[in-house]
Amino acid sequence: MSEEKWEPKIVAFVCNWCTYTGADLAGTSRLKYPTNVKLIRVMCSGGIDPVFILKAFERGADGILVSGCHPNDCHYNAGNFHARRRWEFFDELLKFLGIEEGRLQFSWVSASEGKKFVDVVTKVTNDVKAMGQFKAYKDLNDEFTAKFPEPVLNEKEIIMSEEDAK
């Protein structure tokens, strides 16, 4: 893949009640946003385990967005408050371990903020584009796949393959 053609892979973990609905609104309002972002819908930002993030990096994500309801708006009352403390720690830990700032970003987007969703996704995409490919983790990955080849695609596990990237 040549340098010019490289497009970042961005994974967005979004909560069902706010950000996913916000993204839906962006779509129905015919707003345009970068297609680099792949949405993964979860029921609550409090239900996003940090291993999801690590797995996404392992599978070749260049940037990750985690987004949920604004504080006090959580469908489950307190899910995002719990998430907020946890992400604070996780973000600090990743920074300490040498994962650049901006690879993992967080936002609150409500169901009515279709425009904000577009802005957030555009910002994350531009940030990651400026940073370039996530080489550090990619090297870990390449070494790993050379030793242990990827399993055959099956229904149980969704794998970001090279085909997706093209």
Binding site: L54, R84, R86, L97, Q105, W108, F144, K147
Partner: protein, 294 residues
């Protein structure tokens, strides 16, 4: 030492406790854990600067919980704990793994322990966890033995190391930790030695899907060490048992200490200090910082 042995034997005799978890001397500069169930066992109990193990780990193991059943009755367990180990017991009580009334804490005034068995106790061999320690008297206990002694004053190497790592660039930090984690052989000794790693089924043992690669390869090692450090952030009591148990000498205390500092700075919270406060990651405050979020 005699009063400790006498007290422990009395507890057993009166039928108050099912067993006393303590230390016994193996050789001149080495101790090992003992679960004393008789007066003869109690005669072996010791406390000195070679009592390195954090015995709080035994309170979470299902096998040891069985000990409490004696002739159909369920009795208390007594444990001898350094003031820092008491933090572990407090953290377990905070996290509902244990009830305060189920455990008799026999503690000591402590001036620090050695880095490893077989060393003479002085400033140079003081364990790294003892350097920043501020609890030389137990915060919670049913009985305290030992005299108050001065702790040798030495510089804090771990803190200096953390500061030097923070000065590195992101890429350098990643390389540093990758090299350290590459040593990992996935023996999970860190998990077994940690009093707060008590999950019946660890996330690394879950196979569908396989969240953390089980092979001792850079990728699996990286995710395991990140997950371990994250699951302990805001909870780690800084006993340093993970690092001591590590056969490959990975500086795990760097990560743990970093997260302890983070919890202290952001939330003025130190794990295992108070039975009244809820745990940091198990609770929330509406007024928590929102800086991280767009």
């Amino acid at each position: 030492m005699d009063d400790l042995r006498k007290y422990a034997a009395e507890l057993l005799e009166k039928g108050e406790v099912a067993a006393v978890i303590g230390y016994q001397q193996v050789s001149e500069k080495r101790t090992k854990p003992i679960i004393a169930k008789t007066a003869e066992d109690c005669a072996k109990l010791v406390f000195n600067e070679y009592c390195l193990n954090n015995l709080a780990v035994y309170l979470t193991k299902a096998r040891v919980k069985e000990l409490r059943r004696v002739n159909g009755a369920v009795l208390k367990l007594a444990i001898t704990a350094k003031p820092c180990d008491v933090h572990g017991i407090v953290a377990l009580i905070q996290e509902s793994q244990l009830k305060r009334e189920d455990v008799t804490i026999i503690s000591f005034n402590c001036a620090g322990v050695v880095k490893d068995f077989g060393m003479d106790f002085n400033g140079e061999t003081l364990a790294t966890k003892c350097v920043p320690c501020d609890t030389h008297k137990p915060l919670y206990s049913d009985m305290v033995f030992g005299e108050e002694k001065e702790t040798p004053k030495v510089s804090d190497e771990v803190l200096a190391k953390i500061e030097s790592i923070e000065k590195m660039s992101a890429a350098e930090r990643f390389e540093y930790f990758k090299a350290e984690f590459d040593k990992c052989i996935k023996c999970y000794a860190c998990r077994a030695a940690c009093p707060l790693c008590y999950c019946q089924r660890c996330i690394t043992d879950k196979t569908i899907p396989r969240w953390v690669e089980s092979s001792a390869h850079s990728r699996g090692n990286f995710s395991w060490n990140v997950v371990r450090a994250f699951h302990l952030s805001g909870r780690c009591i800084g006993c340093g048992e993970c690092e001591r148990a590590c056969p490959m000498d990975i500086p795990l205390s760097l990560l743990n200490r970093k997260m302890v500092i983070e919890a202290k700075e952001a939330y003025s919270y130190i794990s295992g200090r108070s039975l009244e406060t809820p745990t940091l990651v198990g609770s929330f405050d509406v007024k928590d910082s929102d800086e991280l979020f767009m």
